[in-house]
């Protein structure tokens, strides 16, 4: 009986302990009478000399140049920017399979389908048209806007009205053979444009190599971006229907779908990019970066003391770019400070969107970075400002550097001084 009773008692004890093990002590504080001594204060201050040794890099050779960009920029903005994508396609195969293992030499072009993807466009622009020009197959990264002006002065070999094509049933123009595929998720439009043999004649010396230039037009100044060959799956491509000699007769054969990705693509524009000066330049084409060294305030000893940190830049000129457009500025810590060749930290990043509007101060949030530096005192306290994605947007920001004391970059910091734990 006693053993059974003690067992029950022990179980009761365990049950009571288990059931009553609680801890909820949060209560409205009645300050100052019934509050702890010392208060958590928050200070909002502007550090005027925290930014030092700042400079810009990336002109004339940028971190990303037009021929390595993810997008091919087209713009027709009279008096502001004229940009024209250019591309050189690979040669056609010298022969194609006729039957089984029998092959025949390629003797001409029947037609080609060019695939290009519009990744971004000004949706307010109406009557959007693309004009495709034949360019010399010698184009390369040294080609300039002025050098290609004569080729663009000739009549285009094709013109397509994108708005009209998208208004047709199934986005197909049966008369021209053009069609379009609309990606409603990413708001992309892929165009499939047909060229006949008179528009893309077969050149034996060039083994069928083709080079194209593209201009964009609308009822108003406009711009758009085409996917470049480095933008996986979104770059230009052609599918060729070729004439093949079959024992004296002409047979028609098709290359593999989309076999012809450009061996070179880029874009040329006018006016050319402004060179660097004493300002901090961010973004643009060729892509620029600015590096800023920050004297980290010693008062910050704990990462969680920082409520908000904002880098304030005073634009030296209005942000440059298409009106009503915007671009992202990425603030990135460096793994090691090597100036222009600093290795960027892929983890500690802050991003701010800048709109192309008159603005007196560009504010770039960098709370994450300040918290990171407070936690890792060995990390170099330098940041790189760059556009995102680089080289894919003409928009650029030019802000005063510390070389102009009256308008130098500022660090606006909202933080909490150390709490007086344990003090009485």
């Amino acid at each position: 009986m006693i053993a059974r009773g003690s067992g029950r008692a022990a179980l009761v004890a365990i049950a009571i302990v288990g059931l009553s093990c609680t801890n909820d002590v949060a209560a409205p504080g009645l300050c100052p009478q019934f509050c702890p001594l010392g208060a958590l204060s928050v200070v909002d201050t502007v550090l005027t000399t925290a930014i030092t040794r700042d400079s810009a890099y990336g002109r004339p050779v940028g971190y990303v140049n037009p021929n390595k960009s993810l997008t091919l920029l087209a713009a027709t903005e009279p008096g502001i920017k004229d940009s024209r994508p250019i591309m050189r396609m690979p040669p056609f195969p010298a022969s194609l399979v006729l039957e089984d293992t029998t092959t025949g030499p390629v003797v001409g072009v029947d037609s080609i389908i060019m695939q290009i993807t519009i990744t971004t466009r000004d949706t307010t622009a109406q009557n959007l048209q693309l004009a495709i020009y034949a360019l010399p197959v010698t184009i390369d990264s040294t080609s300039t806007f002025a050098g290609l002006a004569p080729a663009f002065a000739a009549p285009p070999i094709r013109t397509v009205n994108v708005d009209s094509l998208l208004a047709m049933p199934a986005d197909k123009n049966l008369a021209t053979g053009d069609s379009a595929l609309v990606d409603t998720v990413y708001h992309r439009v892929t165009l499939y444009l047909k060229f006949d043999s008179t528009q893309v004649p077969y050149s034996v010396p060039d083994t069928g190599k083709l080079a194209f230039g593209i201009r964009v037009f609308a009822n108003q100044p406009t711009d758009l971006a085409l996917g470049a060959v480095l933008n996986f799956g979104l770059g230009p491509a052609i599918t060729a229907y070729l004439k093949v000699d079959s024992l004296g007769a002409v047979a028609h054969r098709r290359t593999a779908l989309g076999f012809g990705s450009p061996t070179f693509n880029s874009f040329v524009f006018d006016p050319p990019a402004r060179s660097l000066d004493s300002t901090l330049v961010i973004g643009g084409v060729p892509a620029t970066r600015s590096i800023l060294r920050i004297t980290f305030p010693r008062i910050l000893r704990d990462s969680q003391q920082v409520a908000r940190a904002t880098l304030e830049l005073i634009p030296a000129v209005l942000p440059q770019g298409a009106p009503s457009d915007s671009f992202e500025i990425v603030t990135q810590a460096v793994l090691v400070d090597l100036g222009a060749k600093s290795a960027l930290d892929p983890i500690h990043v802050d991003t701010t969107k800048v709109y192309i509007t008159p603005i007196d101060t560009v504010r770039i949030e960098m709370t994450n970075l300040m918290r990171f530096w407070a936690a890792d005192t060995a990390a170099p306290t330098a940041i790189v400002l760059r556009g995102a994605p680089e080289g894919a947007n003409f928009a650029e920001l030019r802000a005063f550097s510390s070389a102009t004391p009256a308008y130098r970059p500022l660090l606006h910091l909202t933080y909490s001084p150390s709490f007086p734990f344990g003090h009485r």
Binding site: I2, A3, G5, S6, G7, A9, A10, L11, V12, A13, I14, I16, V17, S20, C21, T22, N23, D24, V25, A26, A27, P28, G29, L30, C31, P32, Q33, F34, C35, P36, L37, A39, L40, V42, D44, D302, Q304, Q305, V306, A307, R308, E365, T367, R371, H412, T414, Y415, S416, S418, F419, P420, F421, G422, H423, R424
Partner: protein
């Protein structure tokens, strides 16, 4: 016996928390809420029996009544209603305020080691306010929280001198820590990240105590006791951030046994907490209680005392009633004590109503 041991282990170790007493809003701005070295048995009598209870590390001389090695532990689940400014809040805590072990060293000398709460500093004060930041009024919530306290590790010895007198002495090591957190969370969580600062404050100090129990008659005993604590040093990391003088304590208690099944007790205690600094007061406490019966006794008690810290010009007051009983198990080798205590505290416009469910386990292997 084995199940009793299991219960004791669950009580003492299973929750892995420091020993603490119940906390109070009154002590947020002070050193903390003082604990009392009272077993569940003593606490169920309002604390009146503590001076004569060998399982209560209240005074050292009571150890002489330990006839064999014994261990005891206590748990208290507290539900506290705080009322101020027309609003009230229920708070809940679970504490393990006493753990003691002791036994005879020789025929006349008994030694014991105990862990009790000396000061409890567990609270979370939440306030709401706003601040003008960057030209915008930003509302926020502030929270200053503390979890932990100072424990009293006592090593004591008691000796019987003759048939009527028992003497006891003890050395007290005061140690412990509090994990403190100060948090501010702005309503605008997009632009402003939460500020969270944490710090661990460690405490150290020493104290000595002495006491005597004199059996003045076959049915009456008188206890007198005193204790002197030194300075409590508070360290944040390696830095000494505060020193606070700790009080001296003096008191007396009487136990009457008019017949074997009835025990009546009363005690008074005076503590000089005002030494510890601004906002601290000397405190006076009293208690009276009875224990009726042996195997399953009924215990009743009342108490009245003061809290040493408060914002006003006088010490907050505290009154309480308690009731409890116990069950002897395993041929007297184990005892489970249960009790219920209600305390009322008031001062400077704040009131606390505290209900504490007490559970104690004692084993004598």
């Amino acid at each position: 016996m084995k199940t009793l041991a299991v219960a004791l282990v669950v009580l003492v170790l299973g929750t892995a928390r420091a020993v603490r007493a119940q906390d109070s809003q009154f002590s947020i701005s002070g050193l903390g809420t003082p604990g009392r070295g009272e077993s569940v048995r003593a606490r169920s009598t309002g604390g009146a029996m503590a001076a004569f209870d060998p399982n209560s590390p209240f005074i050292d001389a009571s150890l002489v009544d330990l006839r064999a090695t014994a261990a005891s532990a206590a748990e208290g689940a507290t539900y506290r209603n705080v009322t101020a400014g027309g609003s009230s809040t229920w708070l809940q805590t679970t504490r393990y305020p006493v753990f003691a072990v002791g036994g005879p060293l020789s025929r006349h000398v008994v030694v014991g080691v105990s862990f009790t709460t000396y000061l409890d500093q567990t609270y979370d004060a939440v306030t709401r306010d706003s601040q003008l930041v960057r030209g915008t009024v930003e509302p926020y919530n502030n929270s200053v929280a503390s979890n932990g306290g100072v424990s009293d590790i006592r090593v004591a010895a008691a000796m019987r001198v003759g048939t009527r007198l028992a003497l006891g002495v003890g050395v007290h090591a005061l140690t412990g820590s509090t994990r403190q957190t100060a948090t501010r969370t702005y309503d605008d969580t997009v632009d402003y990240r939460p500020i969270i600062q944490t710090g661990t404050v460690t405490y150290s100090g020493w104290g000595v105590s002495g006491s005597a129990i004199l059996r003045i008659a076959p049915a009456a005993a008188l206890a007198i006791f005193g204790r002197q604590d030194g300075t409590l040093n508070s360290h944040l990391g390696d830095s000494l951030v505060a020193t606070s003088k700790l009080p001296a304590s003096y008191g007396g208690a009487v136990l009457l046994t008019p017949w074997p099944a009835l025990r009546l007790a009363g005690s008074v205690e005076w503590q000089t907490w005002s030494r510890s600094g601004q906002g601290a007061f000397d405190t006076m406490g009293w208690s009276a209680g009875l224990e009726l019966g042996h195997a399953t006794p009924l215990r009743l008690g009342v108490r009245g005392d003061q809290l040493p810290f408060g914002p006003g010009s006088a010490a907050p007051t505290q009154t309480g009633v308690a009731v409890g009983t116990s069950k002897t198990l395993a041929s007297g080798r184990g005892v489970i004590d249960v009790g219920l205590e209600r305390l009322s505290r008031s001062g400077s416009g704040l009131q606390e109503e505290v209900w504490t469910l007490l559970l104690g386990v004692s084993i004598r292997p």
